[in-house]
């Protein structure tokens, strides 16, 4: 330690100590001269050796190299600016992608002790739900010793405030929610375990900051006022803070204590129903407890619960914990998407690096003179190599600085546009900075190492490396363009293809009977009446019942293995008119009889996978122990899996025990508002306590396709950036190699060579590398495109049009980028060029 300290002292007092050393040696020389010896040797050399003992030579060299590098860069500013810009784009794209990932999955929530928060979900080997029943939650809450606290949130359909036309999003939370997160109230108070735990407490509501601003004109005197939610009086007690960080990124506008739920949603038995999975559960680890230990305890509790309430627990069920102190709880599928985006952005970086590498290599030729002088006066190869590497790192550093600025402004725009929670900011945190530094060094290594090696060995005239870099650029751009080609195709497919069901002129009406405690028979009466009356509304063509409406809140799916193929089965329970209402074609057989049992209708793809060319009618589903008989085959209609081409559907007839959970779908002609108003007034007269959720399917479908369009747009933008980079790089390389051959071109022209033939001759040398780039890129795309499956809606990942489109565009750009500088060379003034030489 002492030695290190002394070294640092030496570093800071270098000037003085060097002067002292010099004085010492001067004195030594005087004395020696007096004694008649005169062989002191090279004073400077000895002083340098003595200085080396301090161990800071490398730092001196580094500073020297940096200064020299900066001088070189300012000498050709346009060249440096281009390199820095190219790198900034490559790094910036990666930084913005990483910061978004960081925000969603890595950044801890600004709440009390976010590291100990757990998201708890029900899992079993073949089932998964993010929600659980409230009584199960209460069981875990009361028995888990490893958790110091548990929180639950029950999301409910939007609620009407007073007489508003638009309803407002709402959630019920356990009263410890805010105290556990350490959230202070902006005004008034938030939920409090001491005041809001019992259903006998005075009904209260907490407003979100934005609702308070929007709906209540940011008036602080709203605290204590009574408002009506679904016509029930409730007292406003507080407002959440502006930058409130909620668990799981949920941001309803109304927060109410969970004990108040039966009051507001009259007749609801959700809080006592063991089979109604509807709350999201979070836990906080007790001090010193690991998540593993908590999971183990919960597993044991699940087994106990199975003994008491078998209906509440699946076979082999366990509670899975995931870190909950982030904006989003990351599911495995989301990691796949993140990895896909990561690969695409890294490809951009690869294009940028290959590009810069080529440019540096080309410039190495112009620096031949300088480098040979330095070698001649005694610089070692390794010294020159180090110098070149320092220059690369300098360039990469400038690129990274610009890139982080670029990336963060992109993120800023994204945050504002996406209406993200207010506590998020685009300012890079240490993870982003560390990532940027990592990317900077990696890219410096990629673009700088090979050229530096070649230049230091003074072999810059060799073209192999340049060709390899060119091929790499073309290959990476090829993959990117094919990816964007496929996504554009997928978007087109979604936009211009029939999704297999009629979403236009269809409306879903969810009266939420089950949530209001309707019995089977009461539900049946209500739904019958609703259907009959709806049919009389002008414009309504067809009405039917379905358990899981298209694009609904609940999606149910099962992993099935059919003839060795892993498929995702989307089951649904419908009444006989469903296919007609949703305009799903009946291809074979018949639809159900009302209430029919032991029969199933399957989708076309299902039938093809399961029975091939055989007649599916009368068969049983392979590997299914229900012994249900297929009575009909309908067209594919991925109503709840628009993006999953491998999805298969199975339909079963509605049974009377499904009744409380049924949703009405209606097909109509004319404006949806007329039907919606009609449905609302029917519901009003049937039961004024109910507030059915009415959703026009066209709007939902539009929202989903808009998302798809946005994704395709972003990927196309990335592809465009890649192609721009590749184009600039190729123009630069071709232009450079042609400028090296000016004399040859002039002589050829003077000797009467035809211009097009000369052009071809000049470009020929790039042929093999570009061709191999295309081949490698296409191959890579073929193998990697299956990762894109998640985002490809209805298009094969080997879609020939997508591939051809991507390759075609890239080929055009490459051709253009090659011919542009070549043509310019042809316009050369022969006489002057030859004279010049």
């Amino acid at each position: 330690m002492g030695e290190l300290w002394r070294r640092i002292v030496y570093l800071f007092n270098r000037r003085r100590l060097e002067a002292e050393l010099e004085a010492d040696m001067e004195f030594h020389r005087e004395m020696a001269a007096r004694a008649g010896q005169n062989n002191f040797g090279n004073v400077l050399r000895i002083r340098e050796q003595a200085r080396e003992a301090w161990g800071w030579t490398w730092l001196d060299d580094l500073v020297h190299d940096l200064r020299y590098g900066a001088r070189i860069l300012t000498r050709s500013p346009s060249f440096s600016v281009i390199i820095v810009l190219v790198l900034a784009i490559g790094i910036g794209v990666n930084v913005s992608a990483f910061s978004l990932f960081d925000m969603v999955a890595l950044k801890p929530l600004p709440v009390r002790d976010p590291a100990s928060l757990l998201r708890l979900e029900r899992r079993s080997p073949n089932a998964y739900t993010s929600e659980m029943a409230y009584p199960s939650f209460a069981f875990y809450r009361d028995h888990a010793r490893t958790l110091s606290a548990t929180m639950a949130v029950l999301g409910v359909p939007p609620i009407q405030i007073d007489n508003d036309l638009q309803s407002t999003s709402a959630s019920f939370a356990t009263p410890n929610y805010f105290t556990e997160l350490g959230t202070p109230a902006a005004y008034g108070r938030l939920l409090d375990p001491a005041l809001d735990s019992s259903s006998a407490s005075q009904p209260v509501v907490v407003l979100s900051y934005s609702l308070w601003q929007r709906r209540f004109d940011a008036n602080p005197s709203v605290i204590g006022r009574t408002i009506h939610l679904n016509r029930k009086p409730v007292t406003v007690v507080g407002v959440t803070p502006y930058s409130f960080a909620s668990l799981g990124g949920q941001g309803p506008d109304l927060w109410m204590p969970i004990a108040e739920q039966p009051y507001l949603i009259e007749g609801s038995k959700v809080l006592a129903d063991w089979t109604n999975s509807s709350i999201r559960m979070w836990g906080r680890l007790g001090s010193g407890v690991t998540a593993k230990a908590a999971e183990q305890e919960l597993r044991a509790l699940t087994d106990q619960l199975r003994k008491q309430h078998a209906e509440a627990v699946w076979d082999n069920e366990f509670i899975q914990s995931t870190p909950g102190g982030h904006l989003q709880v990351f599911q495995p599928e989301m990691y796949r998407v993140a990895a896909m985006v990561g690969v695409l952005t890294l490809l951009i970086l690869a294009v940028a690096c290959a590009n810069v590498g080529g440019l540096l290599l080309a410039r190495g030729i112009t620096r031949e003179h300088e480098i040979s002088i330095r070698v001649a006066i005694g610089a070692s190869r390794s010294r020159i190599f180090r110098q070149l590497c320092t220059e690369s790192i300098l360039l990469a550093g400038l690129g990274a600085l610009t890139g982080i600025a670029l990336g963060c402004s992109v993120v800023h725009v994204a945050i504002v546009r996406l209406n993200a929670p207010k506590w998020l900011s685009a300012t890079p945190d240490w993870r982003v900075v560390l990532f940027t530094i990592g990317v900077m060094f990696t890219s410096a290594l990629f673009f700088g190492l090979a050229p530096a090696l070649q230049i230091a060995r003074q072999r810059q005239r060799r073209t192999t490396l340049r060709q390899v870099l060119l091929a790499a650029q073309v290959a990476a751009s090829c993959v990117l363009l094919i990816a964007s080609g496929l996504l554009v195709r997928a978007t087109q497919h979604v936009l211009f293809n029939d999704p297999g069901f009629g979403y236009e002129g269809t409306i879903s009406i969810d009266p939420q009977l089950g949530q209001h405690g309707y019995s089977e028979s009461a539900s049946k009466t209500y739904l019958n009446e609703m259907e009959t009356r709806l049919r009389t509304v002008p414009g309504v063509r067809s009405v039917s019942l379905v358990r899981l409406p298209p694009m609904g809140h609940i999606v149910s799916r099962e992993n099935r293995e059919i003839n060795g193929h892993k498929m995702m089965l989307y089951p649904n329970w419908v009444d006989p008119d469903y296919f007609q209402t949703m305009q799903i074609p009946l291809l074979l057989g018949r639809t159900f009889h009302p209430g029919e049992k032991h029969s199933v209708i399957v989708s076309q793809t299902f039938a093809r996978w399961a029975w091939g060319d055989q007649n599916p009618l009368g068969q049983m589903i392979p590997g299914d122990d229900s012994k249900d008989i297929v009575v009909g085959v309908v067209g594919d209609a991925h109503v709840n899996a628009l993006n999953d081409d491998d999805a298969i559907e199975g339909y079963w007839a509605v049974q009377s025990d499904n009744m409380p959970n049924m949703v009405v779908v209606a097909r109509f002609a004319g404006p949806p508002s007329a039907v919606a108003t009609g449905a609302r007034s029917i519901s009003e007269s049937l039961d004024p306590r109910l507030f059915p959720e009415i959703r026009p399917l066209k709007q939902l479908y539009h929202d989903i396709t808009l998302q798809i369009e946005q994704i395709a747009g972003i990927v196309s933008l990335i592809g465009m950036v890649a192609i721009l980079l590749a184009g600039v790089g190729i123009i630069g390389l071709v232009g450079f190699s042609i400028s090296q051959r000016t004399k040859e071109i002039a002589i050829r022209l003077a000797l009467g060579s035809s211009k097009p033939r000369l052009c071809v001759a000049l470009l020929k040398q790039f042929g093999p590398s570009i061709a191999s780039g295309f081949a490698a890129g296409t191959l890579l795309a073929v193998f990697s495109s299956k990762f894109l499956r998640v985002a490809l809606f209805g298009v094969s990942n080997l879609d020939p049009v997508g591939f051809a489109g991507g390759i075609g565009i890239l080929f055009g750009v490459v051709l253009f980028a090659g011919i542009l500088p070549a043509r310019r060379a042809m316009r050369l003034n022969v006489a002057r060029a030859l004279h010049y030489e």
């Binding site: 030695e3 040696m25 004195f27 030594h28 050399r45 000895i46 003992a53």
Partner: protein, 96 residues
């Protein structure tokens, strides 16, 4: 080791160290300047010697190098090591 030994009795400046070694070794050993100063710097960094200003016999301001306690223990260790080494060499020479 020799430099450390020379500095054991008193603080000396660079030239004097070279002279002392030259004289004490009966003019057999000549310490090259190119070796002396880098070594002194190394010893300074290691903390075996410290340097302080003094006036030379020719009335010039020069730096005198002085042994530190760390330097003393280093010297002891080196002398012990050297002793072992010469004994070993001696015994080989005697038997061979």
């Amino acid at each position: 080791m020799l430099i450390l030994r020379i500095l054991q009795s008193e603080a000396l400046h660079g030239y004097a160290i070279a002279q002392r070694i030259h004289v004490l070794s009966s003019e057999v050993l000549v310490v090259e300047e190119g070796l002396l100063y880098p070594t002194l710097q190394k010893m300074l960094v290691k903390g075996w010697v410290t340097a302080e200003w003094g006036i030379s016999e020719t009335n010039r301001k020069v730096r005198f190098y002085r042994l530190t306690p760390a330097g003393r223990s280093q010297l002891k260790a080196e002398i012990a090591g050297y002793g072992r080494m010469t004994q070993a060499i001696q015994s080989i020479l005697r038997t061979a």
